[in-house]
């Protein structure tokens, strides 16, 4: 099938899916609905979810009868390296310590850019690690381990 307005179409599909998902969760998990005067935990989310679902369908319907833009291409390279670097930082910071975690974060993230200069990025990561530890651990006293836990 040829989509005339793919950008809006997919946006609508996404909204409809999320909206109805919220409404369905309320029903499946049996959050109490209550009455209009004594609303239960499920009332407001159910109403909102349904509205969002319907809005999504409206956007889809409109997209089918109008012309619009394509969905621009996704830049997977920065998505994977930037978000990947962040997730790895989150998962390892406590074990390998802030110093090493920052170096790893910067090195992985720099693959997301256009050019990769090993030496430059290494220097940058070390400078950032020292600077951040000085500011956040010594200056603002945030409770981060600096060195890997297996050193202690």
């Amino acid at each position: 099938m040829h989509l005339r307005n793919p950008k809006d179409f997919w946006a609508g599909v996404l909204f409809a899916a999320i909206g109805f998902a919220f409404a369905i969760v309320v029903k499946v998990a049996e959050y109490p609905m209550g009455t209009a005067s004594r609303m239960g935990a499920g009332y407001f989310p159910f109403v909102l979810g349904t509205i969002l679902g319907v809005l999504g369908l409206i956007i889809v319907a409109k997209a089918l009868v109008s012309d619009g833009d394509r969905v621009p291409k996704f830049a997977w390279r920065p998505i994977i390296f930037i978000l990947g670097a962040v997730i790895i930082f989150g998962l390892t910071a406590k074990t390998i310590g802030l110093a090493l975690a920052i170096v790893v974060l910067v090195m992985i993230a720099s693959f997301g850019g256009h050019e990769f200069r090993m030496k430059e990025q290494l220097i940058a990561s070390v400078v950032l690690a020292i600077g951040s530890i000085a500011v956040f651990v010594y200056g603002l006293k945030l409770p981060f381990p600096i060195w890997p836990s297996f050193f202690n």
Binding site: K7, D8, A11, L14, F15, I18, G19, F22, V25, Y31, P32, A36, S37, R38, M39, G40, A41, G42, F44, P45, L48, G49, L52, L55, G56, I59, K62, V71, F74, A75, P78, I79, I82, L83, A85, V86, I87, F89, G90, L91, A93, K94, I102, L105, V106, A109, G113, H114, E115, R117, E120, Q121, L128, S132, F136, L140, K141, L142, P143, F144
Partner: protein, 501 residues
């Protein structure tokens, strides 16, 4: 009048403490820094610093964070004028004429006019804030749950009208934000909702997590995909002194920009970005010779720069008097207040006058510092612009990660921020603005709470929202706004207005 003077002198006694001055200075410098640097804005910066403000006294924390917001307005113009890249989204229009002035060797004059215009606007907005806040807070005390619900509805609708792009999509983003805000424990029944048995979700998703993901990480990815790093080419600044003709042309524009900016800052959904665009459009409309715009007209610098600074400051009015944030930056300020155990709303002024007035006075002092510091330091800021993005974004990333991690010292928030980074990017690709989502997110729990209370008080009678006069008026305005943008003529105009972006 006496009360005003008493209040302001209380403010001065707080804001002139050496520590307060220091935090104000730090905020202004940081704000200018991130304002000058393209690719990082006040939302990401404030979100980043939020965890670190926990240890500060509430006054100092808010003084510093406010400084970042208005400081960014000063810094953004420097980049716009000298490099033709908006350092901040609120200085997009400044680049149009500012850069042309720089090419004609008059960068110095443009920078001076921008700084002085901003300072003037900052002074007016500060006074406006001091004068308008107390009576507004009085009104706010008369608000019941029905009024609050209607007011938030109005705020959200206004946010849609003022956002650019599709109205339906913006409404959908708001509702999605409201729903995300409901994740976590229901305050009334203590029941955990939508947590999918993940213990970390019982307390809900942190605002910083969403803000940083959507405005921080998604933004970095977007910048990286935009391809080649643009060459930074800085023109000679030239004489800082504007000519007499510059002054004569600029001051009415500054006045108009200040007025329009102050007004648009108060509106829900408004703020610095909208103000600068509108001010530029207004100048072009009323100018006798609009052909000069885009070729280095000083009015094209003076008006938007005054407007964005005025709006940055007046957007504190709804936050401080009603407890309702009109834009994402103010939503973060709510977060900053809650970290300190302060519930934003009209009671802040009566219960914490030193905080309220100290902050207002510090804004004026901060503006003064910015004017004095910015012009002599301009060389230093220009140097910063020569730092390539490939070195800049890892630094932004490191600060963001540390900021998010220290929210609760668990990997969970960091992973979730990454997920929201992807969601934010996805929505950008689908042509959906993220700002309404953030507003909805912060208002979600408040709206539900007030809706429930209003319905309980009226014994389930939904007409309470239209039978109480204040509430009915607010809803009426909201409905009117929706009707207005649905009108074909206005719709065309609105699309045209946002095309320039």
């Amino acid at each position: 009048m006496d009360a005003l003077i008493a209040n302001l002198s209380l403010g001065f006694s707080v804001a002139l403490q050496p520590e307060a001055l220091m935090y104000c200075l730090i905020g202004c410098l940081l704000g200018t820094l991130i304002g000058v640097l393209p690719g990082i804005g006040p939302v990401a910066t404030i979100a980043m610093l939020l965890p670190a403000t926990f240890a500060l006294k509430p006054e100092f924390s808010l003084i510093m964070l406010a400084g970042i917001y208005y400081g960014a307005q000063y810094g953004g113009s420097t980049t716009a004028i000298l490099v033709n890249i908006p350092g901040e989204s609120s200085s997009v229009v400044t680049a149009l004429d500012g850069y042309q002035m720089a090419r004609n060797g008059r960068a110095g004059a443009a920078l001076t006019v921008a700084a002085l215009g901003s300072f003037f606007a900052g002074c007016v907005a500060t006074i406006l804030l001091a004068v308008a806040a107390p009576p507004l807070a009085e009104i706010a005390f008369k608000f019941g749950p029905a009024e609050y619900f209607s007011l938030m509805t109005l705020g959200l609708i206004a946010a849609v009208v003022l956002a650019h792009g599709s109205v339906v999509k913006a409404i959908a983003m708001i509702i999605l934000g409201l729903l995300l805000g409901l994740i976590g424990t229901d305050v009334n029944s203590g029941m955990a909702r939508f947590n999918f048995s993940i213990p970390e979700l019982v307390d809900g998703i942190g605002f910083v997590v969403i803000a940083m993901g959507v405005f921080g990480f998604a933004e970095i990815i977007k910048n990286l995909e935009q391809g080649d790093e643009s060459e930074v080419f800085v023109h000679k600044v030239g004489s800082l002194l504007p000519t007499m003709k510059d002054f004569k042309d600029a001051w009415p524009a500054v006045l108009r920009g200040t007025g329009l900016g102050s007004l648009l800052g108060i509106l829900p959904g408004g703020g610095a970005v909208l103000a600068s665009f509108s001010a530029y459009t207004l100048e072009k409309k009323i100018a006798k010779d609009p052909s000069q715009f885009g070729k280095g007209d000083i009015r094209g610098v003076a008006a938007p720069e005054s407007a964005n600074n005025a709006a940055a400051q007046t957007s504190f009015i709804p936050l401080l008097t009603l407890g309702i944030p009109p834009n994402p930056v103010m939503a973060l300020m709510v977060g900053a207040m809650i970290i300190q155990g302060i519930q934003p709303g009209p009671q802040v002024m009566t219960e914490k006058p030193q905080l309220f007035w100290g902050m207002i006075v510090s804004m004026w002092l901060g503006n003064l510092m910015l004017v004095i510091l910015n012009l002599p330091l301009i060389g230093m800021w220009i140097k910063l612009l020569t730092v390539p993005y490939r070195l800049l974004y890892p630094a932004i990333l490191v600060f963001c990660c540390i900021g998010v991690y220290s929210l609760s010292n668990s990997p969970f928030d960091v992973v979730f921020t990454a997920i929201f980074g992807f969601i934010g990017y996805l929505f950008l690709k689908l042509g959906c603005e993220p700002a309404p989502l953030l507003l909805g997110f912060i208002l979600g729990p408040m709206m539900e709470e007030n809706l429930r209370r209003a319905m309980l008080l009226s014994r389930g009678d939904a007409t309470v929202f239209v039978t109480r006069p204040l509430s009915a008026t607010l809803l009426g305005i909201a409905a009117l706004l929706l009707v207005i943008i649905a009108l074909p003529a206005i719709r065309a105009k609105r699309e045209e207005a946002f095309v320039e972006e």
